[in-house]
Amino acid sequence: MTFYYKPSRIAELTRVSAKIVFLFSFVFYFNSSVSNAAVSVADGQKLYANNCRSCHVTPDKDQVLVGPSLKNIDKKRSEAWLISWIRNNVALRASGDKDAIAIFEEYKKASMTQFLSFTDDDIKSIIAYINDASNKVPVAATAPTAGSAGADEENADSYTGILWVVVVVLMGISFLIFRINNNLRHYAGEKIGDEIPEERPFFKAIFSKGNVALMLFMCVMFLGYWMVKEGQGLGRSRDYQPIQPIKFSHKIHAGQNQINCLYCHSGAEKSKVASIPSVSVCMNCHKAIKEGPITGTAEIAKIYAAFDNNQPIKWVKIHNLPDHVYFNHSQHVKAGEVACQTCHGPIETMDEVKQFSSLSMGWCVNCHRNTGTTFEQNKYYEPLFTRLHDELKTGKIKHVTGGDLGGTECQKCHY
């Protein structure tokens, strides 16, 4: 029975979670839509994460990364000064601004990136965010805002475990009841004086022809099930956690320092592959940071060795897909706006990265079936799928899944 129960249970769970995700997305949607003023903390946070975070710690901490901590910066410098410094610090220094030159000297003449495209409002937003964050107590990294398939499978698995225990207990009870019943019948017979059937020894009874046949049948069934299951699992490597050439910690980088994933994996937004950052990207920060909290200088020295000797770092690839599967990161990250953690799990809590999801086809398809897409926001869909647009308007459907748009068809991934 349990076998049949599981899939429907998953479906139910995923439906529930999809609803939850949907509700959450609404909350976020309203969140972002109400704060559309020219200067906003939310915008500032986004800009900060994308542009500043790789060199400055989050403003709630007081720590030097490449550049200084920006905690309470608005109290140290005037807004006008900050605007001209952030936009073009070179020009500011050239104009002979003493403060600017002093900072430049203090940080070993490492020049800050220029952000010529920032508007005044952008910079004001950043300052607003810094101001806002400076007054908060530092918090540990939050749990991922993931949802859907991966987590569900996890839940479903623990649920199955409980079911198995229940099954075993029930089987034990029924065996006991059966024995008791037998004994009772035996004694009753004795009492009434019926003909008492010859009592077979326990072991003989167990190894009766019928039982042996039944056990054999069960063995075959079990082995068969096990073979199919294991056979399906061949080539799948969930929890694969190889030893990497450098003990790089995502927990420190993505978790504690909150560096945007896309800062290093810049391909995720543009290309099929998320891409492993080149050594030069590591050097952007590690030119200045020569010592880490866990491994000291030992691991960071490997970056310098690679850079100096012109020898690339041979990372071990964790997520491997077969040749007949086409997967495109930018499709999911940019067009689909899926969070990295949805598939990769709570990466910001992992010291060593492991394969979080099974990457099985069922796992892919479940998400395509159940998860809402950017159908309403993306102008690509405007001229297409009139029926779905109408149904969304009339409220007949709540959201459009990948499956509604053909996302579960063979040639979306196999060609």
Binding site: G235, I276, V281, K314, V316, Y380, Y415
Partner: protein, 1035 residues
């Protein structure tokens, strides 16, 4: 007009017993069922025990294999990532494919640093985004392992520096003694290289540059010198010609600048209600050329008749103009009738007519010039001011060089990109003469027939590894840029010359300097040279406006020309040597994509064949594959015959391009070398021979021909009409659409009706535009990793092309509609066809055939595992990882476009040498170097699965994704299939048919649009446009 009967080959026309046997079989190959059941293994008494043993072994093997660890894969990033490279994203670089007389402005698609595909560059006004099969296939030769990997001296590897100092010393010694230095090359299109060669000449003195082209046009050059004092090949404007007469000039296939001419030609062949006008095209030729197959009227004449035919046309035109006639011009009545019509039409369209001639005979070309002069073609359809720089071979120079060499008066010979030992009729003599020269250097890319005679072999880079420039026509410049570092230890030829001139410059700098000096001042838009240069590199071309045309007075001697030309007609057997459309002059004979690209007319792959006329074959009891011995002078060659409808009687036509001995694994020993048949006619090479003898040898040979691998069984696959009928009724000739549209929507399975709520992909192919060149086939192979299977496999009907071009013949003027009855009547005719039909008067249709992506696809509902099914965008999807290889789908496909991987052709499975290797071409993808050409976005198929056209789904997905990422709707024409973008004739339109504004949706509304086999109600996604012929009253 009723439709006529079409046939793919003689066997089909005459319904030979073998043909019927083959046709009625389910699979082309016999299945060894009987064999297996009668085999020892099955019949053995203790088969049960063997079975158990094998079962035990398999289970153990499976267990062992399953317990293997998953291999550790590495991800190795750059140390410093170049800014423009994003791993996984393709970059396109503008470049130029210029090799000898081939020219194509291209875009090179590179993925992660390796070039994988060639696309046309639409910025060029010459090729306008079109490509050819050779340009498409040139990318594969980049990864050719037969290329020489390091400089060699007398066969031993040598350092570049050592070779340089050796050669410099010897050149210096030659300079001191005043010795002769000769540089022999194919046509050089690069002005910088030409400049450099000239400078090299000044540096060392006594240097001459000789240009050799095996398929020469030097007759045109010398005729223009004699007629107008202009020693050049003019520019031609086929787009301005309303009447075209061609004497054996295959201008769509091989003549001078085929991509350019195709683009021009089709502008006047496309017909619509808005523009119901077409050009008229007469073709007088001996063989059936690609151009001839597209002509409105082709008249078969023997090679020896050509001179008289030209004289006859001259006399007719001269008559109109009131000029005196020249002597000669006696032609057959049939030819005379057509010549009369052609002359009258051209005279009526003075200034908008064009006569071209493929002959290398100076006299022929002088008369052609005279005709064009009278017709006012100069300044209109022919442009002597904006001349062409291709095909600059000079036969006289070359034969002088050979004389010099034999006399021992050449001290140094530098060979650059030419291979005369193979491609010159007296190649052996040339090879012997090479030995007499003290210093011989070859820049050729491989140790070919000529290079094996030289002392220094200094391999040149591939063009995709080089900087270069080209000036294909006056003022039409283009640039080549390297798209990959040199794979082997090679060096660009020009850099070698620079080294020997003690120049500190490298060639890329030199090009830049030349452009700054000569090209930059001719424009005013860009102010700084750097921005001009950057823009040119980005766009790939810089084109000056055409020079204003001036008038030239014709000063040729027509009487002398005519007297050297007329009265040559012979009654005996004649031989014609022509250039192969796919393989060209033989330089790319080691390219498997080209070797397996069927000849547009005979559909033969991997071979040299002798085309003979059908009546000749019948008279001499020759059938396809019989061997004949052709001898001319002291040269003999045994060749298999193909009975070619449309051939001039008593003529044999053989294509050059094969028979290489030293080109590499794939091409060595394939076909025969027919260059030795070429003769020297005073100063020009002559490609026909009127004194040959032929004798059947009685041997048989199995040809690999793709044309008969499918039959039409009299079905109404092709639809055609004539221009005047079309003008009266745009729906004329289109039989199927109305008849079957009324049953639309009737189905037994309403639940399977597809809704197509988003996009709905569709294609349209214009049969009027398609010329049948085969560029799409190579492009498709390159884009989709379609394997090459080799000659043996094609013989077994295992070819893998996703798109094929079906070539159908019909008797000209045959207007019978094909019905079951008329067809069986036709069968009854049998060999009597000879009596009633004119075998020389044949019309040809080229029809590209690929997966039709049917709405009610018959393949889909027979698949037991649903490996092929329908997408919501109208694609008939093929899922390789689901396919178990029953081949039911292939069997059920009415269009016969599904291909089965009988073997692991591309070594997708893990054991590298466990592959079918009977023919060398099969295993081309086993080495890691060649595999670099594979498209990483497309699965490499393994053994045992079906594959077929996917509408380039990877490109469609990419276009959609780009639009989504940019948050905008998909535009029309953004998603292009590989065949569509390769097509030089713009015959293919593709897009979303749900959107009524797209080009392809508009074709659906066109009256000419029809679906092949519409009567089956499979509802294909591909529409074809009825072919319109402008062939009335052409005699």
């Amino acid at each position: 007009m009723e439709n006529k009967s079409y046939w793919k080959g003689l066997a089909e026309l005459e319904e030979t017993p073998e043909f019927i046997h083959e046709r009625d079989k389910e699979f082309a190959e016999e299945l060894p069922i009987e064999e297996i059941f009668n085999s020892n293994f099955v019949q053995k008494p203790r088969a049960r025990r063997d079975f158990l043993k094998m079962l035990g072994f398999s289970v153990t093997a499976a267990t062992v294999a399953a317990s293997c660890k998953i291999p550790v894969r590495q991800a190795i990033p750059y140390i410093i990532k170049p800014e423009e490279i994003v791993p996984g994203l393709a970059n396109y670089y503008a470049s130029t494919y210029a090799d000898g007389s081939d020219y194509c402005s291209i875009l090179v698609k590179t993925r992660d640093g390796r070039p994988i595909k060639i696309e046309g560059n639409s910025h060029s006004t010459i090729t306008k985004g079109g490509t050819s099969a050779r340009a498409q296939a040139s990318i594969l030769s980049l990864y050719d392992k037969a290329r020489t990997s390091a400089p060699e001296k007398e066969g031993k590897i040598i350092e570049w520096s050592a070779a340089d100092s050796d050669i410099k010393n010897q050149l210096a010694a030659i300079k001191t003694k005043g010795g002769n230095i000769r540089i022999l090359s194919s046509t050089v299109l690069s002005p910088s290289t030409k400049n450099l060669i000239a400078e090299f000449g000044t540096y060392y003195g006594n240097t001459r540059h000789i240009v050799f082209e095996p398929m020469s046009n030097s007759g045109i050059i010398s005729a223009n010198e004699k007629s107008f004092g202009k020693k050049l090949i003019p520019g031609y404007n086929f787009d301005r010609a309303k009447v075209i007469v061609s004497f054996a000039a295959d201008f769509l296939g091989t003549w001078i600048s085929p991509i350019e001419f195709t683009k021009q030609y089709v502008t006047n062949r496309k017909v619509s209600k808005a523009k119901a006008e077409m050009s008229r095209h007469y073709q007088f030729e001996s063989n059936v050329s690609l151009t001839g197959s597209n002509a409105d009227k082709r008249i078969a004449i023997k090679p020896s008749e050509e001179g008289d035919a030209i004289i006859a046309l001259y006399n007719m035109i001269a008559g109109f103009a009131g000029k005196t006639a020249v002597t000669g011009g006696k032609v057959s009545d049939k030819a005379a009738k057509s010549l009369n019509k052609a002359a009258a039409e051209m005279w009526a369209n003075k200034g908008a007519s064009l006569v071209v001639c493929g002959s290398n005979n100076t006299n022929s070309q002088i008369l052609i010039n005279a005709i064009n002069d009278i017709l006012g073609s100069y300044g209109n359809t022919i442009d002597l001011d904006n001349y062409s720089n291709v095909a600059q071979g000079n036969d006289k120079d070359f034969s002088d060089l050979l004389t010099e060499m034999e006399a021992g008066s050449v001290d140094a010979l530098i060979i650059y990109n030419t291979n005369p030992v193979y491609s010159f009729s007296k190649g052996k003599k040339f090879g012997e003469a090479l030995k007499k020269i003290g210093l011989t250097i070859s820049f050729n890319d491989r140790n070919d027939e000529t290079t094996s005679f030289v002392k220094y072999h200094l391999p040149d880079n591939h063009f995709l590894e080089s900087w270069n420039d080209a000036e294909v026509k006056l003022g039409k410049y283009s640039l080549s840029q390297p798209c990959i570092n040199p794979i082997f230890n090679t060096r660009q030829a020009a850099d070698s010359l620079l080294k020997w001139m003690d120049s500190a410059d490298d060639y890329s700098n030199l090009i830049k300097k030349n452009w700054e000096k000569y090209v930059f001042p001719t424009q005013t838009q860009e102010l700084s040279f750097q921005s001009f240069w950057d823009n040119c590199v980005r766009v790939g071309v810089y084109e000056k406006a055409a020079t204003a045309t001036t008038t030239f007075a014709f000063a040729g001697d027509v009487n002398a020309a005519a007297s050297g030309l007329g009265g040559k007609k012979s009654d005996g057997m004649e031989l014609l040597i022509f250039e192969s459309v796919g393989l060209g002059n033989g330089k790319y004979a080691n390219n498997p994509w080209l070797l397996e690209n069927p000849d547009p007319i005979t559909k033969v792959v991997w071979d040299t064949v002798a085309m003979i006329s059908v009546p000749y074959g019948k008279e001499n009891n020759l059938v396809e594959g019989d061997m004949i011995e052709v001898s001319a002078g002291d040269f003999k060659l045994e060749l298999p015959v193909v009975l070619q409808p449309g051939m001039a009687n008593n003529t044999i036509a053989v294509a050059v391009g094969l028979g290489r001995e030293k080109c590499g694994r794939a091409g060595n020993g394939v076909g025969k070398n027919v260059y030795p048949f070429v003769t020297m006619n005073v100063d020009t090479m002559n490609y026909s021979n009127s004194s040959v003898s032929v004798k059947p040898t009685g041997n048989k040979y199995e040809l690999a021909i793709t044309q008969t691998h499918g039959t039409i069984e009299g079905r109404n696959i092709l639809q055609e009409t004539t221009l005047s009928e079309y003008k009266k009724n745009p729906k004329s000739g289109n039989h199927s659409s109305e008849e079957f549209e009324k049953i639309d929507g009737v189905t037994l399975y309403p639940q399977t009706i597809h809704k197509y709520e988003g996009l709905r992909w569709g294609m349209n192919i214009d049969l009027n535009s398609c010329i049948g060149c085969g560029a799409c086939q190579v492009a498709c192979s390159a884009e989709n990793n379609v394997p090459v299977v080799g000659k043996d496999e094609v013989r077994r009907v295992h070819e893998m092309h996703w798109i094929r071009i079906d070539r159908y013949y019909s008797f000209a003027g045959d207007k019978e509609r094909v019905t079951k009855e008329s067809h069986s009547n036709a069968i009854g005719l049998g060999n009597q066809y000879d009596d009633v039909k004119d075998w020389e008067d044949i019309e040809v249709v080229h029809q590209p055939m690929l997966c039709q992506h049917c709405e009610n696809a018959p393949c889909e509902n027979v698949c037991p595992v649903a490996a092929t099914n329908h997408s919501s965008e109208g694609l008939n999807q093929m899922t390789y990882n689901r396919c178990i290889g029953t081949r039911y789908c292939a069997n059920n496909c009415p269009y016969k476009v599904r291909r089965f991987n009988w073997f692991d052709y591309t070594t997708a499975d893990s054991f590298p040498w466990n592959t079918y290797n009977k023919s060398e071409g099969v295993a081309m993808m086993i080495d890691d170097l060649t595999r670099m050409v594979l498209n990483p976005d497309v699965t490499v198929r393994s053994r045992g699965v079906i594959e077929k056209c996917s509408f380039c789904v990877q490109k469609l997905q990419d276009a959609k994704l780009t639009a989504k990422k940019q948050d905008r709707p998909l535009g029309d024409g953004e998603a292009k299939t590989a065949c569509q973008s390769a097509c030089p004739a713009d015959a293919i339109v593709f897009g979303d048919v749900n959107n009524k504004e797209t080009a392809v949706a508009k074709t659906r509304e066109d009256e000419r649009n029809y679906h092949v086999l519409a009567e089956l109600h499979v509802k294909p996604s591909i529409g074809y446009m009825v072919k319109v012929r402008n062939n009335e009253n052409m005699a």
